[in-house]
């Protein structure tokens, strides 16, 4: 009887609607076909982007030997690590400030302020930062990586903030209350209870921020000074010259790194405690 009811219910399932499967297939195809082709041609032996001349790791070796690629890769990772550390720290404090307090006036407004980078067009932020940093540069004479790190940290904050806040929202105050009932003063409650329970959220936030920073082009392109290419801006620069499957190889590596980090992110968001 119960089975019958559920079978009946299946007939109303959206998957049985006319055309649903077709549309889904088209969507997945447009999403993944180009990436598949890109990965496929990264193993091309010849130096043509479209013409298959046999399987080889040639372009991976080429890319890894290229000093410009090496420098850009290191720079990308340094920026991403620093930016995700800073943004996660800021995001954790922001998430605690917007959930572990009595509700106050303007809380919504602060929430919107924190998530501003998600809504303001990136190109606007990029131009704004370009001008802002130009002023600072003339005053300080500092031209280092700091600008890129600060810029990346700033736009990574909402990405780190959202998973941390989601976890805090899912944690009711009862553990913290129980700990204070068991003679733990507020700071100890935070260190022994809140922080360990929040840790998976913090890690998830950091992972997300890392990936977002790693593949940023627009803001980096505007903020960087000469010789400060990251992997994505290096690749953009290459497009204006000769294109070889080297760019496929670099893209594939970036894709692999992102996939690993995002997988770790999902593992952390799914972790209960």
């Amino acid at each position: 009887m119960l089975n019958r009811i559920f079978q009946k219910k299946n007939e109303f399932s959206i998957t049985h609607q006319f055309g649903f499967a077709t549309i889904a297939l088209i969507c997945f195809f447009t999403l993944y076909a180009p990436i598949t082709i890109l990965v496929f041609y990264s193993f091309n032996a010849g130096n043509n982007l479209m013409l298959w001349e046999g399987f080889s790791f040639h372009w991976y070796v080429e890319a890894s030997k290229n000093e410009l690629v090496q420098e850009a890769a290191i720079r990308s990772v340094v920026i991403a690590v620093c930016a995700s550390l800073i943004s996660t720290l800021v995001a954790t404090m922001a998430a605690l400030g917007t959930t572990r307090t009595r509700s106050f006036r303007g809380q919504k407004f602060i929430f919107i302020m924190i998530n501003q980078p998600l809504m303001v067009p990136e190109i606007v932020t990029a131009v704004a930062l370009l001008i802002f940093f130009a002023i600072i540069k003339t005053f300080t004479n500092y031209y280092g990586l700091g600008y890129l790190i600060v810029a990346h940290a700033a736009f990574c904050v909402p990405f780190a903030y959202l998973p941390i806040k989601a976890r805090l929202d899912g944690m009711d105050l009862s553990m913290e209350i129980a700990a204070s009932d068991l003679y733990a003063p507020p700071l100890v409650v935070f260190r022994r209870i809140t922080l360990p329970l929040l840790f998976p959220g913090i890690m998830a936030g950091a992972m997300l921020a890392f990936v977002i920073s790693l593949d940023d082009v627009i803001i980096t392109e505007f903020v960087k000074t000469a010789g400060q290419d990251t992997l994505p801006t290096y690749m953009l620069g290459q497009l204006r010259r000769v294109i070889t499957p080297e760019i496929n190889a670099i893209s594939t590596v970036l894709l692999a790194v992102s996939l690993v980090v995002v997988t770790v992110f999902f593992l952390f968001t799914r972790k209960r405690y």
Binding site: S174, A179, D181, L182, Y183, P185, P196, Y273
Partner: protein, 371 residues
Amino acid sequence: MTKTSNAEIAIHVNGVGKYFGAEPNLVKALDDVSIDIRRNEFFTLLGPSGCGKTTLLRLIAGFESPTFGQILLDNKDITHLPPYHRSVNTVFQSYALFPHLTVAENISFGLEMLKKPKHEIAQTVDEMLALVHMEELKDRRTNQISGGQQQRVALARALAPKPDVLLLDEPLSALDYKLRRGMQIELKRLQLETGITFIFVTHDQEEALTMSDRIAVMSDGHILQVGTPDNIYYNPQERFVADFIGESNFITADIVSVSKGKQAKASLRLSGSRQTLKAVLPANKTKDKSATVFIRPEHARLQTSSRGATMTGTLTNILFFGTDTNFHLSLENGDSFVVRAQNEIGRAFNPSIGDTLGIVIDEQAIQILKD
């Protein structure tokens, strides 16, 4: 009631109130509540949800501050002390065990916070594990054990620091019936073995009656009556208390005459009927003309004839409960009345619906409520 000296009182609640919100939407969760809870007592706060019993518990624990009034623990004012400075521990309704710690680590948490020496902590944790029969599961995470086991860990965790007072916020409500009965006995045993004052919050009157030394019945932010379980059951002062605890019959009656003397007795007549009853009149009741009379269903008997009966009624329904049967009757004035009779094998008395039966009630079982 006997006067208790200050030394015997663990918790002294003095005119405490807790209001939430502001004027148009002001909620008086607690309004001018005063009680004394004695040392080593199993004290129960009983009432329906929203009566303020959990609020009172949270005030004693220190999770909230009262709007006015004073709370003393062993004669020391703790009204505004934070929870981590009170020798009071709580067993939460949701248990609130720390999911990132093991069973043993949960139990040792409070002891570590009190900075007890390592060997003492280890010893106490072992004692507590033994007390709640959880030795074998001490290295498990708290989400790897059953609800009943979590319950026992929560108890052990709260008992480990040996608090002056243990607060229990409906700790059995998430357990199924069998487990709950087992835990009731367990709790009573733990209270006797540890000698700690237990303050137990529940809406389950049966739970309150079986476990408590004394019960405070609460409603609408007030305490209506404080007494031993049998005192509350046999001598409820107000209709709410009588209605909330056990099954009750309420009959409206007119006061016909009042005898003189220290314990004034009233003759009552059932409204709209000629049947009369006699009962002790409470002190403040003398001026009223009508009264609500309260009789427990098991304190009345049925007989086929109306001779010698206190009242008569027409049988409207028979409900079988296994150990007992409830006979529902309609009285002459239209009030309904329930008689509960214990079932015996081979009972000769087998009335059928529509019969007019005599109801016999002892005079001591008839009470006039204060209202």
